[in-house]
């Protein structure tokens, strides 16, 4: 654990200037990923930590059919928001299915988007092969024991999972990420925010060094749409997903007219199941439709011995959440 300089930022512009001007500087928010990797695992070695927890980015506001959530809102605070419960209840379900009450009081929404993988080879600084930690060194997980790893968006260079629960409904909802840098700001859809590992697993998203997430904008579901989040895991609580699914359906006279579906526990990035959505829209709300959607979502998995079970488990997770949300079991 190397010494670092601790700096407390007073406003977003100052924070962005501090990190942008120093390639060895990193942001510190809730700390549940950053301090774990800096202090405990020794995987990250910043020379300067810029504490952004005092920045005035804690508001939740509603503008028409969009919920604007500033980056330092905690998971607990967002889960307690009445508009979330009313208009995007599966966001609340996903939040409360993640981590523990203590961690949810600490972890921020911006930080949740940027949480690092739980891949044990990435988090073990003594493991020699990890393309995410040391580009070009190989992937120990592809050859060694693996289980809590990705099967979608994965490949021979990396099977590290993006373990967020929250991001699963967020990606299904076409959430937008607002980003600030030294020159101004830009917005990126969450579906385009993450970068598949490909040959450069160390590049995880579109952020440039020093760019700061200031806010996310969550489109609310149309009235009448039902949603749900299902998380399958080894323990009933306080455990990462083996598979999970977030679904929102609008059904009229037995026909699915609106469908959003995303998967967790299986992707190198929070996984939007667009092919499955396409199949669902316009189709009758039946088990047969749900099974076809599940098949489409898991059409081209990349598995190793330890993760092969996830293909069938993810399909069943999809069918179950579609049954639960639609109320149809036929």
């Amino acid at each position: 654990m190397r010494p670092y300089e601790y700096v407390r930022a007073e406003d977003p512009a100052a924070a962005v200037a501090l990190v942008s001007g120093d390639p060895q500087a990193e942001y510190l928010a809730g700390g549940t990923t950053e301090l774990d990797l800096v202090l405990k695992d020794g995987v990250l070695e910043p020379e300067r930590l810029v504490d952004i927890t005092r920045l005035p980015l804690r508001a939740i506001t509603q503008a028409q059919d969009t919920l604007c959530v500033e980056a330092l809102v905690t998971m607990s605070e967002l889960a307690a928001d009445p508009t979330v419960s009313e208009r995007v209840p599966f966001v609340r379900e996903a939040l409360l299915a993640g981590a523990s009450p203590q961690l949810r009081n600490m972890a921020t929404i911006g930080g949740n988007l940027l949480q690092r993988t739980r891949c044990r080879y990435f988090r073990d600084a003594t493991a020699p092969a990890c393309n995410k930690r040391t580009p070009g060194s190989g992937c120990a997980a592809v050859r060694g024991p693996a289980r809590m790893h990705a099967i979608l968006g994965a490949g021979e260079h990396c099977i590290a999972l993006h373990a967020s629960d929250l991001c699963v409904p967020l990606v299904a909802l076409d959430t937008v990420v607002d980003i600030q840098d030294v020159d101004g700001s830009r917005s990126v859809p969450l579906t385009e925010f993450y970068v598949l590992p490909g040959e450069r697993p160390d590049i995880e998203n579109v952020l440039e060094h020093g760019e700061l997430i200031t806010r996310i904008r969550i489109p609310l579901l149309p009235v009448g749409t039902r949603s749900g989040y299902l998380k399958v895991r080894d323990r009933a609580s306080y455990e990462f997903a083996l598979t999970s699914a977030a679904a929102a359906l609008l059904i009229e006279d037995g026909t699915i007219v609106g469908a959003r579906l995303a998967l967790g526990g299986v992707g190198t990035v929070p996984w939007r199941a667009l092919e499955a959505e396409e199949l669902l829209r316009g189709a009758p709300a039946t088990d047969r439709t749900f099974r076809a959607a599940a098949q489409a979502a898991l059409d081209a998995p990349f598995t190793v011995a330890g993760t092969a079970f996830k293909v069938e488990l993810a399909k069943r997770t999809i069918v179950r959440i579609l049954q639960d949300v639609s109320g149809v079991r036929s």
Binding site: P3, Y6, T32, K40, S100, P101, L103, N105
Partner: protein, 164 residues
């Protein structure tokens, strides 16, 4: 050479711990947990996994339960920290502490300070509606002795007193 800390990696911090202002000069890497235990000699808060997994280090920060092992002391400047030592008032144990004794809600006792602080927060959050809810919202506190049934019973009892 890496262990030599230069002056600019030290930080001055003022914490309000159990109602008392405490001024410290610390290496910026010192966690709230280590500051409490090693600098302030408040050893009631326990270091279990020291990696955010077990809940033994749970304290209240501005009234909310957090893990002190994943919080920098420097981040707590000016904030209110409540530890297990701060729960008893006027020489009387907190009702949750009394209930833990009455229900024998521990064996080795190592996780107990974290369990009790977490339970106090759970009751404030209104999450003691059923045994199932208590279990879910205590899931961040592990007990390797397996005292869970008695922990749930103790919390349920205090929740019942509150509503009567």
């Amino acid at each position: 050479m890496e262990n030599i800390v230069s002056a600019d990696t030290d930080v001055d911090v003022m914490l309000r711990v159990n109602g008392r202002a405490r001024r410290l000069r610390l290496d910026s890497r010192v966690t709230l947990l280590d500051a409490l235990r090693d600098e302030l000699e408040l050893t009631g808060t326990k270091k279990g996994c020291d990696q955010g997994a077990c809940g033994a280090c749970t304290v209240l920060l501005d009234g909310k339960r957090v893990l002190s092992c994943l919080t920098l002391a420097a981040q707590c400047e000016g904030r209110e920290v409540t530890t297990i030592e701060g729960l008893a008032a006027d020489g009387r144990l907190h009702p949750v502490q009394e209930a833990f004794i009455r229900h024998d809600a521990f064996q080795c006792g190592y996780c107990t300070p974290g369990q009790i602080v977490s339970a106090v927060a759970l009751l404030q959050e209104g999450r003691a509606g059923s045994d199932e809810e208590i279990r879910e919202f205590m899931s961040g506190n592990l007990c390797r002795c397996g005292a869970y049934p008695n922990i749930v019973a103790a919390i349920r009892e205090v929740a019942g007193q509150g509503s009567e």
